[in-house]
Symmetry: C2
């Protein structure tokens, strides 16, 4: 069970980046994303991707982050450019119940104390999307990423264009032959 | 020499995601980011980070992407969810002169033809920031990421808070003792 907890989301300003956070979490094997601010539009966007591309990924918005972190049974890892080095920390994180906290702009000081670990994916300013992607990839999520998820839409790797299979239409097309 | 070429940037809508693309490129060892749309604010944002955190990373905006791809002496890799699988493709990309193309919303068909390779970091919708991060990390950029870059501001890994050294102030503070 991996949950990504997104802090400080401002619906107008962060809509796109939080969407990237959520889809990155899903593609790399997280089970849920929880967003601290209520945002029904964001929920719809993510649920629509899950509906088309498959899997059981869930989104909750309007989550009380303080309660959520305190109530989490498992490890809580806060990704921050200020934390301890990822390559040193990663081998010591062995739990299967993991909450990964990623902030938007400024993260409250309290989060640094509530988290079990504060881990930096490089001590340089870059992106919480990149940090989450590298953390999950190095933790083994890359296998899930390449294996894909079976949804209505399946993309077949193509070196020179787009191959998208709509499995619902495939069934429809096939049915006359089967009948 | 690694250049990241960002297509389809719309200054109002994509400001934040393109900033993430640029900073991810920088942190993971790319040399430059080129953005197809003119955007002086974006340039200032990135130059300000370089000024504080160091390195020689450059940003150019208003770049004619078609000309840039055609003129590139080296390999051009377009990251797309439709392309061939990263894990298979990666060992075959050995050039040191690499252009990595990442789009915003819809990428013109022409790009798929102009690129030497169309590579998918998973055939699932997620994020060009995540795709770029994983591509560069797996290609060895992670070492650069953890090594850091020597700028005026240096962040020292800290498991429980923030340690930022301002090297310009350090010199000032030290000078009386040295005098």
């Amino acid at each position: 069970m991996i949950v990504v907890l997104r802090l400080g989301h401002r619906p107008t300003r962060d809509q796109r980046v939080t969407t990237h956070v959520a889809l990155t979490a899903r593609a790399l094997g997280a089970d849920e994303v929880w967003v601290s601010t209520p945002d029904p539009d964001l929920e719809k966007t993510i649920q629509s991707v899950v509906g088309r591309f498959g899997g059981k990924f869930k989104i909750k918005t309007g989550v009380d982050w303080r309660k959520a972190i305190k109530a989490w049974e498992g490890q809580v890892v806060h990704l921050t450019m200020y934390g301890e080095s990822l390559s040193k920390a990663l081998p010591t994180i062995k739990t299967k119940r993991l909450m990964i906290v990623v902030g938007a702009e400024k993260v409250p000081r309290e989060v640094y104390d509530l988290a079990d670990r504060n881990i930096s994916v490089g001590n340089q300013p870059h992106s919480e999307v990149a940090a989450l992607a590298i953390f999950l990839d190095r933790r083994g999520g890359g296998k899930k990423l390449e294996k894909g998820q079976k949804g209505r839409l399946v993309i077949v790797p193509n070196p020179r264009g787009k191959t998208v299979i709509d499995r619902s239409k495939e069934k429809t097309r096939r049915s006359p032959k089967q009948g």
